[in-house]
Amino acid sequence: MTSTDVTAVSKPRAQAGWKRLLLSEYLVLVLTVFYFAVMWTIVPEIATADTLLDILRAMMPLLVVAIGQTFVLIVAGIDLSAPSIIAMASVVGASVLTGDGGYANGTGFEIIAGILAFIAVGAVIGTFNGLCTTRFNMPSFIVTLTTMMFFSGAAIWYTTVHTDASSIGNLPRGFIGIGQGTFFGGLPFSLFVVLVVGGAAHFILSRTVYGRWLYAVGLNPRAAAVSGVPVRRVIFWAFVISGVCAAIASILYTGRLETGTPVLGQRILLDVIGAAVIGGVSLFGGKGKILWTIFGVLFLTVIDKSLQLMGLPIASVFAIKGSIILAAAVIDAVRHRVLVRG
């Protein structure tokens, strides 16, 4: 990283160092490390293995959602329905899995059936979002806003049909292991899931024709269409990918909580989009990388965890978190201006 240049004696070189750091795609990571270092002096517990593992564990489902969101953001769309997909998939999946009269209970392959149910919910809602935006030219903000309202309501309704309790419990052990299990002496199993999803997403974005098409469509759909990119299909699949990613996150959340809950993930929507944008993904399309999204999610999670460790009341947590997001955004805006000026 370029931070070593900053200590250089001559002033112009120091300035160049700052500029390079400011323009570097690792800026958010540097900010995170800097924030972490400052926090370390205030709450030393943040650097313990337990806390770090906690941060890792908290990051994982969020990261999967954010990776899916990145695809949609790159084509200049937005997917507000991700939390409702998480909720819906959670209760539908749990209704298949549960030992209290689940659809696949006792068949011997209930875990596979359950996982397929999760993914199916995500794929179906993603398909609906994609169809509406591409075939009927509806703005993705509104399409996904209505699917968000619909499925967060539907998830609660679905739960009331299946049980008198507020969630569907008694899930098989093997399934819970996906959300809670560990391997290599302590690393969460969800890390493995995220590595696969993240690796695949990174590969798609950087090494495939579809990846190039995503950026082309996001930068200028007209130009992309003229040069032969199947614009509608590209956008459509971005929404399906986002839906499936949300469903995978739902598997991790549900496994961790051991119940299918219709209010799962209600508050993560703005965190997910915020994380991607802080990482450098543009809301106006054409710009974004999986690595950036990872940095953004890491940044927000570290902030959340540190504020939690400091034992601050919820009021301060909100205010500080908001200020930090704003500060990061201001730095990003400054960066843009420097970039434009050259």
């Binding site: 509806m138 309202m149 309501g153 915020g274 205010a319 997001i325 704003l326 955004a329």
Partner: protein, 326 residues
């Protein structure tokens, strides 16, 4: 163009939200004899007034292709300050002060967006957290009861019409005048349609942008005030995620998220439509769990017809130069 059938289809599409509204009123009217009464009609307007007021402010922001996610937080902050600090104050002083606070909230958004060039989505996302945090700090994470004056205001009716509706009407009239009859109103549309062209035409785009966020801030605070006077206490989830029904109301009324198209009358219609559905569902004793389902389907239908109208229009107007790539 292609005879009467086409024109009839266009007419239906053009007035799709109105048709939808008519169908809903008839259906609910048939299902419950308490629905189609003047009292209930007034009730619907009364209940929708706070959303409508905030959505009017949101319309200004959407017209310049902006967005304000912080209105719910602004609502809560205004209500919390009103309930905690302005207790002994006469309403004539306290209420305008709340509006000024809302203005300051909006001005902060506007400052970040126009001067520091932070994207509106991110600015208002962070002020959502900050505003809610400050409000929670003031309220101590507890219920905030309002003073007697506020409650009296909420319960009073003048000339048989509840005070909330008077405020709503006042906000609507001011907004209509500003948008339709002033230079500023035309500038808002111009900036929304094409900011570069507007700047070239000599419009101070930054000033217009700043102003619309201030307007949205005032409306959010007034909406919070009206809502607070109706519900008597502000819980810690007061105004939580209100930005979504507010934006939905504006879009339902035909305001485009991409700027330059729409208006406050449509927005008010959207807010009333949503409330009508909710009221109708209550009147017909529907299962409360399906409320959000029905409401989202109706919003979806309205937006769907709106965008298919745009598609049809485009198809009619397009000169056939090349085949539309798929």
């Amino acid at each position: 163009m292609n005879g009467y059938r086409n024109r009839f289809a266009m007419l239906a599409l053009q007035n799709a939200p109105l048709l939808l509204f008519a169908v809903l009123v008839i259906v609910f009217g048939l299902m419950s004899d308490r629905f189609l009464t003047p009292v209930n009609f007034l009730n619907i307007i009364n209940q929708s007034s706070h959303i409508a007021i905030i959505a009017i402010g949101m319309t200004f922001v959407l017209l310049i292709a902006g967005i304000d996610l912080s209105v719910g937080a602004n609502m809560y902050l205004s209500a919390a300050i009103l309930g905690v600090f302005f207790v002994g104050m006469p309403p004539l002083v306290a209420f305008p002060l709340v509006a000024v606070l809302g203005l300051a909230f909006g001005a902060f958004n506007g400052f970040m967006i126009t001067q520091l060039r932070v994207a509106a989505f991110i600015t208002t996302l962070s002020t959502l957290f900050i505003g809610r945090g400050i409000a929670l700090y003031f309220s101590g994470n507890k219920m905030v009861p309002f003073s007697k004056d506020v409650l009296t205001f909420g319960r009073t009716a003048y000339l048989g019409i509840p005070s909330a509706i008077w405020v709503f009407a006042l906000v609507l009239i001011i907004a209509l005048i500003v948008l339709k009859m002033t230079t500023f109103g035309r500038q808002v549309y111009a900036v929304g349609a094409d900011p570069d062209a507007a700047a070239k035409a000599g419009i101070n785009v930054r000033r217009v942008t700043f102003a619309v966020y201030c307007i949205c801030g005032v409306c959010a605070a007034v909406g919070g005030l009206v809502s607070g006077s109706q519900v008597a206490v502000a819980s810690s989830t007061f105004g939580f995620q209100k930005e979504f029904p507010v934006i939905a109301a504006a879009v339902l009324g035909g305001t485009s998220l991409f700027g330059g198209r729409g208006g406050v009358l449509g927005t008010v219609f959207g807010a009333v439509l949503i409330q009508t559905v909710e009221n109708g569902l209550v009147m017909t004793n529907a299962n409360p769990y399906i409320y959000p389902l029905v409401i989202s389907v109706i919003i979806f239908i309205a937006v769907f017809t709106d965008s298919s109208r745009t598609t049809v229009l485009e198809r009619l107007e397009r000169r056939k130069i090349r085949v539309e790539p798929d």
